[in-house]
């Protein structure tokens, strides 16, 4: 039996229509409900750190490392211990392995000492985003500075541009990595791993766009600072009771 061009067009056309209808149906019925979806425009994330509550236990560093599979020797967050002595031009600072195992106790009661947890400051006017040659790192609409590791060239210009030392080159992916503010958690209504595991509540995730967030009241009644304010990066990690010696 001879198959003519007309036959082919006939059958082919019918198959095409069938396939299109099937695909459309699948799209309509398979789509997830939109009502509970996370809307980026409703959030503007930051963090609040209370220096007077930090006990330098390093839980945050361990939790972050576990949650985000941070490679050993690199840090998305870390804690520093400061000792400020009167008459000395510079403080003594240490962060043994990022404080992942806490600190060895120091007993000097004659100096002012305290802990400073550090992480990516999620700058709104971020110098690291400014210098990326391909835009692989960017500020999300909800205020989190992220890196697209499928796009990153690994040039490390952003690592040089960050005033806070929070970026590093991931040895396995050869792309730049940093604190993501546990984006995979906060977009599901959870808090970050570091805040979750802080036993004293020294670290608190805040959402500036949420009118019920305690941060608004907090900022009205407390003195806060960001790190290196003269860099004008619009950092969104605020420190309460940060000493002037902190770098």
């Amino acid at each position: 039996m001879e198959i003519t061009r007309r036959d082919l067009f006939n059958v082919g056309g019918k198959l095409l229509v069938l396939a299109s209808v099937g695909a459309t149906l699948e799209q309509i019925t398979g789509a997830a409900p939109a009502s509970d979806a996370y809307k980026m425009a409703d959030h503007w994330w930051g963090m609040l750190i209370d220096i007077d509550k930090c006990i330098g236990c390093g839980n945050c560093v361990r939790a972050c490392s576990n949650e985000n599979s941070v490679p050993q020797g690199y840090f998305r967050t870390w804690v520093e211990r400061y000792q400020v002595e009167e008459g000395k031009a510079t403080p003594t600072v240490e962060s043994p392995n990022g404080a992942i195992d806490g600190f060895k106790p120091q007993k000097r009661a004659d100096v002012k000492s305290f802990f400073v947890p550090k992480l990516c400051n999620q700058c709104a006017d971020s110098p690291c985003v400014q210098v990326c040659p391909v835009g692989a790192t960017f500020v999300s609409p909800d205020g989190v500075v992220l890196v697209d590791k499928e796009y990153c060239l690994g040039c490390r210009y952003c690592v040089q541009a960050c005033p806070y030392g929070c970026r590093y080159l991931h040895p396995e992916t050869d792309t730049v990595d940093k604190c993501t503010l546990c984006y995979h958690r906060i977009t599901k209504g959870l808090t970050t791993a570091c805040c979750e595991n802080c036993p004293t509540g020294a670290r608190q995730l805040v959402d500036f766009k949420n009118p019920k967030d305690p941060v608004h009241e907090f900022l009205r009644h407390n003195k806060v600072q960001v790190l290196k304010p003269y860099m004008a990066t619009q950092a969104k990690v605020y420190y309460k009771d940060l000493d002037g010696s902190v770098r």
């Binding site: 210098v131 040659p133 040039c155 490390r156 690592v159 792309t175």
Partner: protein
């Protein structure tokens, strides 16, 4: 205690991010810009004395410019994605915009100028050679075999325009590299508006020195006499450029020392310890003051030809080492101190690693290989009539 670290550094700062290859890159583009500026001295500013080095300088620039992207590619975590810099550039990034400056300079300035300069020779060779050579030269003619006097005048006019555009383009090529460092507010060793200018003038110094060395070496190898008037003129321009370069670097140093801002103590300590050898001994003393003295002496007194040659070659060799040291001090120096100003780390150069010493040496030798091939295809010297 972390090995190699003194004092405190932010935990992610201990390991250096930009290696020896990133020192090599501004060095190579600097040689390009400098060689081109020397070539343009003859073409645009009619300094006829340096005519013998005109073609040589252009080929030097091309050989180095072709190698320039290679250290960058070796450095990238994902070199296979580097084309994205051209396809989806982030417009606020100096690094991204530099990719276009490089492309502009390579094609519209350098390749075009070389083609226009050599066009008559290429056409002649296409008509007189046979076999593979004929195919090559025919391809290089780009279809135009008109070398009548009228066509040559057009070549000249267009070539002049290209060189005129080329001078600010060369400035942009290397000034931009300076801006890539100078615009980083996070790093006080790099962040200064002087950076592009310092880079540019040190580039010119290194490029001029490189052309002088290559010219001297080429003439020696071909057993031909060196045009001393040419050499003296090149040395004179090298001297003037060096004086400006030195002034700029001293200005930066004096300014920093006087203002003594927050970063000063830390940077000063770094220069006195980790950078003492490379900055004070190699860059300033051996790489700048000694060459300046040798060149200045030739402006004040007249020496015998043999002595002058020796002084120029010594001065240029030291200059080339000194400018390399300058790039080292900027790139590596900028990463040896902590941004907390409380500590320092050390840089250990690998040997056979991707960004180690061996690849670096290979990359520095490659331009000479390319140069050798170029002078075979496009001889910079007038062909001797067979007698």
């Amino acid at each position: 205690m972390i090995p190699g670290v003194d004092g405190f550094m932010y935990p992610n700062e201990v390991e250096l991010q930009w290696s020896l290859l990133i020192v090599l890159y501004p060095y190579i583009t600097g040689l390009v810009a400098g060689a081109f500026i020397l070539a343009s001295l003859e073409r645009v500013f009619k300094v006829e004395a340096v005519r013998p080095t005109y073609r040589l300088a252009l080929l030097t620039a091309l050989a180095f410019l072709l190698v320039a992207p290679l250290p960058l590619q070796l450095h990238l975590g994902h070199p296979e994605r580097s084309l994205e810099m051209y396809l989806t550039p982030h417009k606020s990034s100096a690094m991204a915009m530099f990719g276009f400056v490089y492309l502009w300079y390579l094609t519209v300035v350098l390749l075009l100028e070389i083609w226009l300069e050599y066009r008559a020779d290429i056409v002649r060779k296409a008509q007189t050679t046979t076999g593979f050579q004929r195919i090559l030269y025919k391809a290089l003619t780009l279809g135009s075999e008109n070398i009548s006097p009228a066509a040559r005048i057009i070549d000249d006019k267009v070539g002049y325009t290209v060189t005129v555009i080329g001078i600010p383009s060369a400035f942009l090529l290397h000034g931009y590299v300076g801006f890539i460092f100078g615009s980083i507010k996070a790093n006080p060793w790099w962040s200064t508006p002087l950076m592009p200018i310092v880079f540019l003038f040190s580039a010119m110094v290194s490029g001029i020195a490189a052309v002088l060395m290559l010219y001297t070496a080429s003439m020696k190898l071909k057993k031909q006499p060196i045009d001393m008037r040419c050499l003296d003129t090149i040395a004179k321009y090298l001297f003037y450029t060096f004086v400006i370069d030195f002034t700029l670097e001293m200005l930066d140093l004096i300014h920093r020392t006087y203002e003594a801002d927050e970063s000063f103590r830390s940077l000063d300590f770094m220069v006195h310890t980790r950078l003492w050898g490379s900055q004070v001994i190699l860059q300033i003393f051996l790489g700048t003051l000694v060459p300046l003295a040798l060149l200045a002496a030739n402006q004040l007194w007249r020496f015998r030809e043999g002595v002058r040659k020796a002084m120029y070659v010594t001065a240029c060799s030291l200059t080339l080492i000194g400018i390399f040291a300058m790039r080292w001090n900027v790139v590596i120096g900028g990463q040896l101190f902590s941004k907390s100003f409380l500590g320092y780390t050390t840089y250990k150069v690998g040997l056979v690693t991707r960004e180690g010493l061996l690849p670096a040496i290979g990359l520095m030798l490659l331009p000479f290989v390319i140069f050798f091939v170029l002078i075979k295809i496009l001889p910079p010297w007038p062909e001797r009539e067979a007698t």
